[in-house]
Amino acid sequence: MTGSASKVYANAREALAGVVRDDLTIMSGGFGLCGIPENLILALRDCGARGLTVISNNAGVDEFGLGLLLKTRQIRKMISSYVGENKEFERQYLSGELQLEFNPQGTLAERIRAGGAGIFGFYTRTGAGTLVAEGKEQRVVNGETFVLETGLTSDLSLVKAWKGDTEGNLVYRKTARNFNPMMATAGRVTIAEVEELVEAGELDPDQIHTPGIFVQRIFKGTDYVKPIEQRTVRKKK
């Protein structure tokens, strides 16, 4: 997926063209509805690919984010840490239509990082003595039990950044960063949507969160909704 043909695409639909098909494993960035690739999820719904395995910390809500792909039954399996905000998810899971693999959030993040960094697997204390450790190799070191977790990669990673340049360099904003940087490294193909697309050289090279080598395609997203799940405010004193 290299080639100095420009990495820049016009929109989500064009960026997905030629790289999506049924049964892919897709990583989708974001935590809750924060920092999710809104444009790419819509385009993925519209392209109709089915039987997808989706690796994402959460599963969106019924009317937004990955919830849209659940509604259209495009997702066969989710690998997540928390899916509490989605009724359609619950229905499909309880009826057996949807497969689900839960990972502790930090283990999920680390597995994705490992996949992108060529680490076959790693030993973590997280999950030792719980259901998460069942069937996995464990080792006891100085009385502490560690569980072997393996790296995860994807056929396609969909990430959302704040700013990006034509080289594919990305900068994230506040807590919208979350899973996006690791997922960018773990995709055989990574597509980034950004709120602001600038020329190479406009971003400070010391301040780039995701170097362009990890991004094969990039486009400027539009019509960002950015729903807030738990709007919480304080009173002016």
Partner: protein, 211 residues
């Protein structure tokens, strides 16, 4: 008279120390932030990728790119920094957070914690709870002493699937506070809520503990 939710949070806040880096769970633990003593510096970590979590925003100042692990809108402080989920959990797993205060469904007398699933019910997932209890130096669980049907939640052993084995250092319920000096020791009763007798506590607890 049992402690209120706020009183439990205030009691948990007494476990804070000046300079601590702390992760607060959802529910009563979130209230602990309201009881940080004046003049004490405590830095709150949010596992979705922030250190130095500020208060909820004023109406109209909500930023959808700035939420906590409970998906609530929050604000930043002069000390704040943002990082990725893998860096955030590296911080947690690596033992850099001093204290985690979180809710529980069951705690066993040997310090096991169950707080993420009830078999037969829809499971929402463990989120970051397993990482927190496995990685943070000290874990305080704040929970009601008994479930709605009256069953003890601090028990001889957990019946629900575990979040972590031998990970709890202190239990703060609406009736009492139990703690242990290290993870090889048994829990000891430290405090009783006003009007709660030792006998009443014993009858409402299935865990063994020192008095």
């Amino acid at each position: 008279m049992a402690w209120t939710r706020d009183e439990m949070a205030a009691r948990a806040a007494r476990e804070l120390k000046d300079g601590f880096y702390v992760n607060l769970g959802i529910g009563i633990p979130t209230l602990v932030a309201n009881y940080i003593p004046q003049g004490m510096k405590v830095v709150l970590q949010s596992e979705n990728g922030m250190l130095g979590m500020g208060p909820f925003p004023l109406e109209g100042e909500e930023d959808p790119d700035l939420i906590n692990a409970g998906k609530q809108t929050i604000t930043q402080l002069p000390i704040s920094s943002y990082f990725s989920s893998s860096d955030s959990f590296g911080m947690i797993r690596g033992g850099h957070i001093d204290l985690s205060i979180l809710g529980g469904m069951e705690v066993s007398e040997n310090g096991d914690l169950a707080n993420w699933m009830v078999p037969g019910k829809m499971v929402k997932g463990m989120g970051g709870a397993m990482d927190l209890v496995a990685g943070v130096k000290r874990v305080v669980v704040v929970m009601e002493h008994n479930s709605k049907d009256g069953a003890a939640k601090f028990k001889s052993r957990c019946e629900l699937p575990l979040t972590g084995a031998n990970v709890v250092d202190m239990v703060i319920s609406d009736l009492a506070v139990f703690a242990r000096p290290d993870r090889k020791s048994p829990f000891k009763l430290l405090e009783l809520a006003p009007g709660v007798t030792a006998d009443e506590l014993k009858s409402r607890t299935s865990a063994s503990y020192q008095v």
